[in-house]
């Protein structure tokens, strides 16, 4: 068996967040994880110097040249044999240049450059984002023998699924000094790290594993080879036997892990707990409120950016000039009598539609993957005809715009020249279209501001026995408004205008301590709270329960869930009625590890696998041993092949030993009788 990782980053590209490559780290990685072969796969880049440096440095490991190509939005790893390195380098240069220009590589370009792709190993992102699109798999399907997955669970699922590619699990790590070394590699059942031997073995799904014991449902969680189930694992052990230590190590070895630490959800100090909960709620409220009010914010800010007072003054000046001009008709001189002297300029409204349509047609013509579907309904020939017609319309519109602009310039010049000579004042220009648009904006704002104040239930989200409820409500008083704004000042004059949105809006503009871009928040109160099963706001103990429910509710977005002794924070009834089923259900989707010595959890959780930790005092200090095995196994076994009876582990961990279990059983029996 050999262990490989064919997805490693060593150079920061535009697709990576910042990192400094560390040669020591990659060295530490292959040694610590006992890896036999790696491939260097930077984004759309193969850097020969960097590759050679690594290859020279890692003498005991087979280092292969590779690249991670952004192919039609998805990612594809290409690994080449050493014998092809010169040609591969040339091909990668072309990929690099094309990506630099277009930010993506089309399938046609890829096929053109890598016309010999069958000589390489192609590993598409298969059950991992960003996935290679299905049409690519269909088109060059025969060249794909394997696909990359992002977690052990997905590896196991894909292995079992018929008709799928051979799954491969790789670290996808950026080799920098400060990163944890992940346990994401693949074992191949072959003796050689020769490119073609490995490729041949990968062709056969039965020859790949994620552990060296060839166990199909288990994956290595620690560097010593300790295995665990991809389902539900219970970690037992006495106090200070290394349960938390084990969870911490698992957490270090994987990415995208949700780790609920002991006492994490509960504060011993009541006041601190309340404060923490209130802060978290306030944060959630703020996120929800921002999202809900996003469009309203835009309207408010738009209205705020228009100077309505100035507009009114201009309109009034314009009207009085017109009246004056008309009344004074008898006194007009030869200059002011010229018709163009008193005329307004042309108002030309730019019609953006033809331009938008041209962009849309162009998108349809450039649809790539979807061309066939589009052509089912409309031919390219008709699209091109339509494109030509709209370009013609667009150009005509542009000509009209040009002519109007030039005419307006001329009108302006003549008016200026005449008014210098005339005793009459010229009529000021006034853009009536713009004024009308601004008034429409204002009316729309008033309408929405009135609607948004009406009480309404916005959100009702059940999380376990709790409910997150969001309501919108009007501010009930100036005091309420002031509390919400949270700044000193006089708010009753504003609040008195609350029924008149436009005046209310303007009333905040004079207040120096109010930020203009925050005014939209002062129109409605978003009430966001957590209610218990009886519909009341959650109390102290319930808050911790809600925190656990909330943490579990999004756990499936992660690749792994770790929970350290939940019984330290919660009572048995809550754990049994609310939590046990939830954890079991999550473990169907991602691996779950629960450390406990609680018999409700240990007894009721239908775990797949047991891990038992034990502290052993040696001359070198305290060492931790871990025994593992399926729940129904008679014995649990360590990586050194030492064994311990499962029955003893269970009865000691859950019942405090056999003697106390028998005693307790007797007591219950007597009480019942």
């Amino acid at each position: 068996m050999i262990k490989i990782d064919f997805h490693i980053h060593t150079i920061k590209t535009d697709l990576d967040s910042a990192f400094d490559f560390s040669l020591d780290k990659i060295s530490e990685y292959v040694q610590k994880k006992k890896i036999n072969a790696i491939a260097i796969t930077n984004h759309n880049l193969f850097d020969r110097a960097n590759f050679d440096l690594i290859k020279i440095h890692l003498k005991d490991v087979a280092v292969y040249p590779g690249i991670e190509v952004t192919l039609e939005g998805g990612h594809l790893i290409v690994v080449a044999p050493f014998t092809k390195i010169e040609e591969f380098e040339e091909q990668c240069k072309k990929i690099h240049d094309e990506f630099k220009e277009k930010n993506d590589i089309s399938l046609d370009f890829f096929m053109d450059i890598f016309s010999n792709h069958e000589e390489y190993l192609l590993i598409p992102h298969y059950d991992k984002n960003p996935k290679i699109q299905k049409f690519i798999l269909d088109r060059i399907g025969s060249s794909f023998i394997c696909g990359e997955v992002c977690s052990p669970k997905k590896f196991i699922r894909l292995y079992k699924e018929k008709g799928t590619l051979t799954p491969l699990l790789f670290s996808d790590m950026r080799m920098a000094d400060d990163i944890p070394l992940l346990n994401k590699q693949t074992y191949i059942d072959t003796d050689s790290t020769d490119f073609y031997s490995m490729k041949e073995a990968i062709r056969d799904k039965e020859k790949v594993y994620i552990n060296d014991k060839k166990k199909r449902d288990l994956f290595p969680i620690l560097d010593d080879g300790t295995l665990a189930s991809s389902g539900l694992n219970i970690i037992f052990g006495k106090r200070s036997s290394g349960k938390t230590y084990t969870l911490d190590r698992i957490n270090e070895n994987f990415d995208n892990v949700k780790y609920i630490k002991q006492f994490d959800l509960i504060e011993k100090d009541k006041e601190a707990a309340n404060k923490k909960f209130d802060e978290s709620m306030s944060n959630d409220r703020s996120i929800y409120s921002d999202e809900y009010l996003a469009e309203f914010k835009e309207i408010v800010n738009n209205v705020l950016s228009i100077n309505y007072k100035e507009q009114e003054t201009k309109l009034s000046d314009y009207v009085s000039s017109l009246v004056e001009f008309a009344v004074d008709m008898d006194n007009h001189d030869a200059f002011s009598k010229v018709p163009v002297f008193s005329e307004q300029k042309f108002e030309y409204v730019i019609d953006k539609k033809p331009k938008n349509i041209i962009d849309s047609i162009s998108n349809l013509l450039d649809s790539g993957t979807y061309e066939k579907i589009i052509n089912k309904y409309i031919s390219n020939e008709n699209l091109i005809k339509m494109l030509n017609e709209f370009v013609k319309i667009h150009r005509e519109k542009k000509r009209e715009e040009l002519i109007c602009k030039q005419a307006n310039e001329l009108i302006d010049k003549i008016q200026r020249a005449l008014s210098i000579e005339s005793s009459q004042n010229a009529i000021p220009s006034f853009d009536i279209n713009q004024y009308a648009t601004d008034v429409i904006k204002k009316n729309l704002f008033v309408k929405i501001a009135d609607i948004i104040k009406k009480p309404k239930l916005l959100l009702e989200n059940q999380i376990g026995k709790f409910k997150i409820v969001a309501k919108r409500e009007p501010f009930g008083s100036a005091k309420e408004l002031q509390n919400f704004v949270g700044k000193k000042g006089e708010y009753s004059s504003s609040y008195n205008l609350y029924d008149n949105p436009f005046d209310y809006l303007n009333s905040f503009e004079d207040k120096p301590h109010i930020q203009k871009d925050q005014i939209y928040k002062y129109f409605v109160r978003i009430n966001y709270q957590v209610l218990n099963a009886n519909g009341y706001p959650v109390s102290g103990g319930e808050r911790a329960e809600f925190n656990l429910e909330k943490n579990l509710s999004d756990a499936e977005n992660y690749d792994m869930l770790l929970i350290d002794e939940p019984e330290s924070s919660f009572d048995n009834i809550f754990l049994r009625t609310d939590i046990v089923d939830k954890i079991t259900s999550i473990s169907k989707k991602i691996p779950v590890f629960v450390s406990t010595h609680n018999n409700v959890l240990g007894g009721n959780l239908n775990s797949n696998y047991i891990l038992y930790t034990e502290a052993v005092n040696t001359a070198d200090g305290t060492m931790f041993s871990i025994y593992g095995g399926n729940r129904e196994n008679k014995v649990l076994t360590s990586v050194n092949n030492t064994q311990i009876k499962n029955y003893v582990v269970m009865i000691n961990s859950l019942e405090g030993g056999e003697e106390s279990y028998v005693e307790r059983k007797e007591t219950y029996k007597n009480l019942k009788d």
């Binding site: 018709p339 300029k345 005419a407 001329l410 010049k413 020249a417």
Partner: protein, 103 residues
């Protein structure tokens, strides 16, 4: 034999007065000009070949006529020089796109 299209005369000076061509094909005294007539003149400059009689203060006696004739003739002269560039800016927009998809 190819007949060359004659430029349209849109401004002229006669008897000490300035005249512009209106949309009915009549020459009208420039002190009657309104914004629609100016738009029509600009339209002609952009879309056809036009010519004007150059402004000469000594030939126009009326002050109002002088002002208006001078402004219009200046505008037409400038536009005549820049119109090719302005039109080409419009016509080259999307030219690449049209070329890409032409037969």
């Amino acid at each position: 034999m190819l007949s060359e299209k004659k430029p349209i005369k849109i401004l002229k000076i006669k008897d000490g007065k300035g005249y512009y061509l209106d949309k009915n094909g009549n020459y009208v005294e420039v002190d009657k000009v309104d914004r629609d007539s100016l738009l029509y003149l600009i339209n002609l400059v952009i879309n056809s070949e036009v010519e004007i009689e150059t402004y000469d203060e000594s030939l126009i006696l009326n002050k109002v006529h002088q002002i208006i004739y001078k402004e219009i003739s200046q505008k037409i002269q400038t536009l005549n020089t820049s119109k090719l560039t302005l039109l080409s800016n419009i016509d080259t927009e999307y030219a690449d796109l049209i070329n890409k998809y032409k037969d």
